[in-house]
Each structure stands twice: as C-alpha cells, then as structure tokens.
C-alpha cells in the first residue's frame, strides 16, 4: 500500500520564521493532506481488507518510526515508507532563521501527530467507521505523546485531542491519559485557571465587552433594564456592565435586572452567582435585582411566558454560546433556537450573540463538507490557533499555560469533539452559525458602533499582536488570531411577531396545538 504524499506537497508557501507559527504550517499541511488522504488505502471507497491489515500492522508493530534528520524522511520499518513532507521543507527552513532547522524535527513530529489524529478521526467518524483502527491509532498517538502535560505545545494539543477521541471511543468514560483528572478538578482550580485564561487572552473579555457596549447603547435612555441571560455561568459579563451603568455621567444609574436561564440542577450555582452579582452591585451603588427562570426540564426549551416582564423596562437578551468556564454540557440546537426566537415574544430590544466562529476560506469549506472529520479538523485548527496565541503572548509562562490547557481548554476540546460527533444524532441537525440562522429567521442587524469597534481594538492592543478584530458584517465583530477567525460577537434586533411562522418548526408539535 502506497501512501502517496510527495507529489501533493508544496510548501513554498510555508513560512518557517518561528516555530510557533504552526498555524501557517497547518494550513499548508492540511491542504496537502487533503489529496494524500484520498490515496490512503483503508479510507478510500475501495477499501481492501489486506490494505487495512497492512496499515494496522505497520502502525502497531513499528518499533519506532525511523526519522532521518538529514533528509527529513521518516519511515516505518516495514514498507510502505511513510514519507513525511518535510523533505522539501528542510532546505526552505534553512533559508529562514537558523533555529528553524532545529525545529524542523519538531514540525515533522507535529505534522505526524496531525496526520495520525486525522486518521483516527476518520476511523471513528468518517465514512467507513472502524473503531478498531481508531483504537490502534490512538494507542500509537499516546506512545508518541508520552505522559500528559509535558512536551511541546503541539504535543500537548495533540494530547487533548487524543483524549477527546479516546473519550468518544470509550463512550463517556473519562480519559486515561492524566488519570481521569478532568471531572475532578476542584472548583478553585477551574476558577483560577479561568482567570488565568482571561488574563492571558482577550477571548472572554472581547465577547463580554462588545455585547455589553451594544446593550448600553440600545438602552441609553432607559430607567429600567432587564437582561435575560442564556448562560449565566459566574456572571462575569455583568460586572463590567454594572460598572458602566453606575458610572454613567449625569442621571443616576438605571435599575438593572438580570434573569438567568437555568437548566435543571443549575439552580444553586445560579443563586450563588446572583449573590455575588448583588454584592458587587451593592459595592457600586448600582440598583440591581436577580432572578432565575427555568428552562424546560428535558428539552431545555425556552418559554417566554416564564420570564417576568415589568412594564416600561427595556429588555435585552444575551446569548453567549462560547464556553466560558467549565465544559458544561453543550446547549442543544432546539434550546438555543427557542431562546433566540423567544426574543420575539418578549419584545426584546436587542439580542446579543457571542459564538465561536466557524473557520474561513476554502479550508473551512472543505472541512465542513466532510462531516465529523471536517469538524474535527476545524476544531484542531481552532485550538491550535488558541494554543499559538497563548504561547506567543506568554512564551515564558509555560506552566501557567499548561494549567489553563489542562483545566479549561482540554475539557472544552473534549466537549467540542463530542458535540461534533453527535451531530447527526441531534434532532434538527446542528447549527454551525447562529448568526446565519438569525439572518434567515428575519432578525435585523444592529450595527456595531464606532465606539464598540474601537473598544475591541483597544482591548486587543493590550496584547502583543497577532490578535485582530474585523467587522465582517455591520452587526458583527470577529476576533481572530492571525488568519484564523475564532470568536464573533453580533447584535440583532428581533423581527416583528408577524414573521414567526418558520420559527415554529423548532417547537414541539404539541406546543402548536395549545
């Protein structure tokens, strides 16, 4: 079985100036891998049992993959020779900074890891599902990666994805690599890691500040503001909103009421959050009240009737889908849809939406077209950008980063992969971009003000560089790292109730006959 990869490779575009520019590297690698995967025996349509067997054997029985640094080739002891595509890269690297040659080995290894990960994803959720092969590949990956928590940046990243895939294989049991730590991280550790992440990156603040500014602008003259929050989490977003309200020059600050939508079991933590928020508001002298509203028990649907509305208040709905703290259970499509469409019933003034941005460009299209594998690679791309961003901003704080990775990002990765895996099973399919959904539903766009845009830019300016914010639509700001778009914050105006009909399709059939 030949793994024909050489012809497919063209690294002339690759930039090797820093080892940390893995993102660019991956961009090349994936595009080239596209062609090569098509040639790989077991994964092609005409899978042959023998080819499969050979591949399994070659992976399993390889003592170690031989790596020849001079040529950049590495090969398995048995044929086929697994030519890496670094052969053309090494001379290129030498032209660049001299230390690039030293890292060519790392790059090669990184590439190998990526290939293996993709192969495993393909085996698990691709066209021809083959759990055994996936298992084997994961074993190999674990061998290559060694103990969790160590190794280079790319190794740690690959480790988390390996764990995620392993979790899928094991059907929900915790991963084995780090001794099943995931679910046992105590709250302090999670919160602390979360704070670290917030300090080291603008992801959280970007979404929160943009949404808050939009809310402030939409409710500029109102005396009472009512925010219905889809995911209250720790309520971090509202601290800066309260501060902004309390320090408005002139008139006294308006009354802020926050209604948190909670799922079953979330009542206690929401109460805690409410208390914290109330305490903070008190310290600012900001009039504040907090209440909870349950989502429906099983379906987690939103019922507009459940929200207490006071006459004369300006109601805004806030929907932050970007996972903030722990890798809480992802929201179902129906749940989010019901929330967003509930804005119409409630007569909300604006709806602020923060969600993860799907990739961009041809890469993304290719990825999407391939189902689970596509989404897996998209997540790999996303998180490698996040990894890069953390490393580039804080190269010296390796340990802090490792903590953030382990405690926050690792579980998120597992959640994302699991979510992608269950895509087909979920009723109504999955919505990739809620922004698009809202446009389709007739939501109007509320433009992002100059102020808001400047705020985002300033926020990013606090970091070294590499982050950028784009205004991809009049109502949307997108935060990205280098070329990768990561997070978007958008502001919408609910359509008038007349345009409802299409939205009903998301409701239970029973509901229609009320």
């Amino acid at each position: 079985m030949e793994v024909a990869m050489d012809e497919a490779n063209d690294f002339s575009r690759c930039n090797f100036s820093t080892a940390a520019a893995m993102d660019d590297y991956f961009a090349c690698a994936w595009n080239n891998w596209e062609q090569s995967v098509a040639d790989v025996g077991p994964f092609s349509a005409s899978a042959d049992a023998d080819d499969f067997h050979d591949l399994v054997e070659s992976i399993v029985f390889a003592d170690d993959v031989d790596y020849d640094p001079s040529t950049g080739h590495f090969s398995l002891p048995q044929s086929p020779s697994y030519n890496s595509n670094t052969s053309t890269c090494t001379p290129v690297a030498e032209e660049e900074e001299h230390n690039a040659t030293a890292t060519a080995g790392d790059d090669a290894k990184g590439l190998r890891l990526v290939h293996l990960l993709e192969a495993a994803a393909e085996a698990l959720g691709g066209v021809h599902k083959c759990p055994d092969l996936a298992r084997v590949i994961l074993v190999r990956l674990r061998e290559l990666l060694g103990r969790g928590g160590e190794g280079t940046s790319i190794e740690r990243l690959a480790g988390h994805f390996t764990d995620a895939l392993q979790g899928l294989l094991d059907g929900g049991r915790t991963s084995l690599r780090d001794g099943g730590q995931h679910n046992h991280n105590n709250k302090m550790e999670v919160l602390t890691a979360f704070q670290l992440l917030q300090d080291m990156s603008p992801y959280t603040k970007f979404g929160h500040f943009t949404a808050n500014q939009a809310i402030l602008e939409a409710t500029a003259g109102d005396r009472r503001i009512h925010v219905v929050d889809f995911e209250i989490a720790e309520g971090v977003q509202w601290a800066s909103l309260m501060q902004a309200l309390a320090s408005r020059p002139g008139t006294s600050s308006p009354h802020l009421r926050i209604t948190a939508m909670i799922r079953s079991g979330g009542s206690r933590s929401a109460q805690e959050t409410g208390r914290l928020l109330a305490a903070y508001a008190a310290s600012l002298g900001q009039p504040f009240s907090f209440s909870q509203c349950r989502l429906e028990a099983n379906s987690e649907r939103f019922r507009a009737a459940g929200v207490k509305v006071v006459k004369g208040e300006a109601l805004v709905m806030n929907c932050v889908l970007h996972p903030t703290t722990t890798a809480a259970r992802r929201r179902t499509t129906g749940s989010v849809a019901s929330f967003l469409s509930g804005s119409v019933d409630l007569g909300a003034r604006v709806v602020t939406l923060v969600e993860e941005e799907v990739g961009e460009g041809e890469e993304a299209e290719q990825e999407q077209g391939r189902g689970f594998v596509g989404r897996f690679m998209a997540e790999l791309g996303r998180y490698s950008a996040v990894w890069d961003s953390l490393e580039a901003e804080f190269p010296m704080q390796g340990q802090a980063r490792a903590v953030v990775e382990r405690v926050i990002l690792g579980p998120r990765i597992a959640g994302a992969i699991g979510h992608a895996y269950r895509a087909e099973e979920e009723e109504g399919g999955q919505v990739e971009s809620w922004g698009e959904w809202m446009t389709a539903m007739g939501f109007g766009k509320v433009s992002i003000s100059c102020f808001n845009h400047s705020q985002a830019k300033l926020l990013l300016g606090l970091f070294k560089g590499g982050y950028k914010v784009e205004e991809t639509a009049t109502n949307k700001l997108v935060l990205g790292w280098k070329t990768r778009r990561l997070l978007s914050a958008s502001v919408w105006k609910p359509p008038s109730p007349v345009l409802l009909p299409v939205i009903d399709s998301f409701e239970d059939s029973d509901f229609l006959f009320d």
Partner: protein
C-alpha cells in the same frame, strides 16, 4: 526692513523675498523698486481681485481680461492678473505652492478665514477642511474616552473575578476547617496535585496588563527567574518580587517581597505542617517569577507601594491581624494613585492566600473585604 509703514504694506515678514523698497503709485498700486518692477498684491488689492473673480463665477470661469475689466484698477496689466489668477487657482487646492508670494499666501489664508467672501469652491473647501478637522478631533476624543472606559471596565471585570475566587476560596477554607480540624494546610493543596496552590498564586499575581504598559510589555518576555530587566527601574532590594506584585496586592503568601527568606520563615511559622508545604511554595515561587512579564514596570506605582509591601508582616500562627493594618495602608496609598494611570487593583481586598492558609484569618478577613 521696509521704510514705508503705510497701510498698504505687507502684514507679514517676507523672509523669502529679497529686501526691496515699496513705492506707492498714484493708482494705489504698490510697486517695488527692484530692477524688475513687481506688483505687490496687497490685502486690499487681493480682496478686490477676489471680488472680481467671484463676480465672474470663480477662478476657473474668470479670465485675466475680464478680471481686469471688472476690477478697473489702473496700472494692472494682463500679465499681473494672469500670474495672480494662476496662483489663486493653485492656492485653491489643498496643497499650496510653497513659493507663493507672501502677500498671496497670507491673503489666501485670509481667504480661508473669510469664508463668506470666497467663492463657492472656496467655501466648500473650507467647510470640508473644517469638517475633516472636526472629525479627526472627534475621533481622537472618542479614542481617549474609550480608553478611559475600557480601563474601568477591565478593572470591574477583574474585581468581580477576584470576588468569585475569594468566595470559592472561603468556601473551600470553611470546608477544610470542618474536615481537617486545625490544619493550616492550604485546602486546595490537599485536594489534588501540588499545582493547585501555585495556580492560585499565579492567578493573583498575573494581572491584566494596563493600557499604559503596552510598550513595556513587549520587553517583558526576556525576563526569567534570574534575569531582571533593567528597564524596570527598581531598587535592587525590592527585587523582582515587588515588581511581580506591583500590580495586584491581592496576593498571597507567595508575596515574597521581603525576599525568599521571609517566605520560608513564614512557612516555618505555620508549624509542623509547614515542612510539607515548603516544596509547593517554592514551586509557587517559580511560577511567580514566570509571571514577571505580565507585570507593569515599577516606574508607575510599585515604588510607592513597595513600602507597603515591605511592611507587610509575616503571618504568624496566632493569627494576629496585622494584615488589617495592611488593608489600611493599601487604602491610603491607592487612593492617592490616579485611577486613570492603570486599573489599580482594589486595595481592600485581602491577599488571596491568607484566607487559604488560615481559615481563622479568613473569617476576620472577610470583614475587611469590600469593594469600597
């Protein structure tokens, strides 16, 4: 330079013109007396010129001949008018010819100022320029405003995060007190892994860079354990630790501002369990050093604060609340600090670690916790 001080003379120094004498002729024109008699375009003359041009429908419509006719000034030749008109037309463009005749330059400046008397085009240009200027001004103002506001919002965000952490910490401390009796072990450390304590320390020590530290921030990543960047001008004594902690006073036992020795001393003060705790704290120490780059330079506020740190007492077993004194000191110094310089951390917040270490103190600290 010019002997004549008549009204018709120049109203500005002609630094580019060779010295010459002006003579006023009968027609009211001022001619110079150098070899080539040159007409001096006085303000008055220029105004008449401009009027004529306006009458004729603008510099593009007017011709020297027609201008001459309209102006009706004796001694004015087509030649004069031709060149002046050309300059006038050029002067209408935003880019001005630097070799312009002095009076011409001045009068075009006057022209811009006297929007009413200028032609349509001039007025538009004038307005446009004003609008542009105003727009630029407005943008700058907005930037500054955004900067101010974002600083406050980041600060609010940080304060709130801090409160969450403290609340959780307290809960944990209370829990551990219930569970493990009189142990002073940091509860989180008992839970899982050595890193929990350092994580907390690290979190409190790493702070969001302030807007003013942008440029300095970049130099930060050269720092490591042993190598302190001298761009951070601090006294050798206060050392890296005070730099690390310059930003947020909300830590921590790892606030080894008094040098490492105090740390260990503190560890020892905790009693028998301290020997177990030593190791993780030193790890914490490492982490703190790693947190260096995030911190702002000593220049801004660490120095005034350094005294505060210096006097920060070592925690002692009997739980004497010398920390409370610190609180007051924090209050005092921070209020003097300008809010706008950087998001100054809330001074009243108790160092995170103190609660962790001593549940007893945590209770008393709780009283001091306020957002002010």
């Amino acid at each position: 330079m010019f002997p004549s001080k008549k009204a018709t003379t120049m109203n500005s120094s002609s630094h580019e013109r060779p010295p010459s004498v002006c003579v006023q002729g009968d027609s009211g024109l001022v001619l110079t007396t150098d070899p080539k008699p040159r007409l001096r375009w006085t303000v008055e003359l220029h105004d008449r010129f401009v009027d004529a041009v306006t009458q004729l429908g603008g510099p593009d419509k007017a011709t020297p001949k027609t201008i001459m006719r309209v102006m009706g000034v004796k001694g004015l030749t087509l030649y004069h008018l031709k060149s002046h008109l050309q300059k006038f037309r050029l002067g209408k463009q935003p880019h001005k010819d630097p070799n312009d005749h002095n009076s011409f330059r001045n009068s075009t400046v006057d022209l811009h100022r006297n929007a009413a008397s200028s032609s349509m085009m001039g007025r538009n240009l004038n307005e446009n320029m004003h609008m542009m200027q105003m727009e630029v001004q407005r943008r700058l103002q907005e930037q500054l405003e955004v900067q101010k506001l974002i600083q406050m919002r980041i600060e609010a965000h940080g304060k709130y995060m801090q409160s969450i952490l403290e609340r959780a910490c307290k809960a944990l401390a209370a829990e551990s007190m219930v569970n493990s009796g009189s142990s002073y072990k940091a509860p989180a450390m008992a839970a899982d892994g050595q890193l929990s304590a350092p994580i907390k320390e690290l979190s409190s020590s790493m702070s969001f860079p302030s807007l003013q530290d942008l440029h300095l921030y970049g130099s930060g990543d050269q720092l490591d354990h042993h190598n302190l960047d001298h761009s951070f001008n601090f006294s050798p004594n206060s050392s890296a630790e005070s730099i690390i902690l310059g930003k947020s006073k909300r830590h921590s036992p790892c606030n080894n501002v008094n040098g490492r020795s105090s740390w260990l001393g503190w560890g020892a003060a905790l009693g028998p369990s301290s020997s177990v705790d030593q190791e993780p704290y030193s790890k914490c120490d490492q982490l703190l050093h790693m947190a260096l780059p995030v911190i702002e330079p000593a220049g801004i506020e660490v120095n005034p604060m350094a005294n505060v740190y210096e006097t920060k007492p070592v925690l002692s077993l009997d739980g004497t609340l010398t920390a409370a004194d610190d609180q007051k000191k924090y209050d005092g110094s921070s209020s003097s600090a300008s809010k706008l310089d950087r998001p100054s951390p809330p001074p009243r917040r108790a160092p995170l670690g103190m609660e962790m270490i001593s549940p007893m103190m945590a209770m008393t600290q709780a009283r001091n916790l306020s957002y002010g």
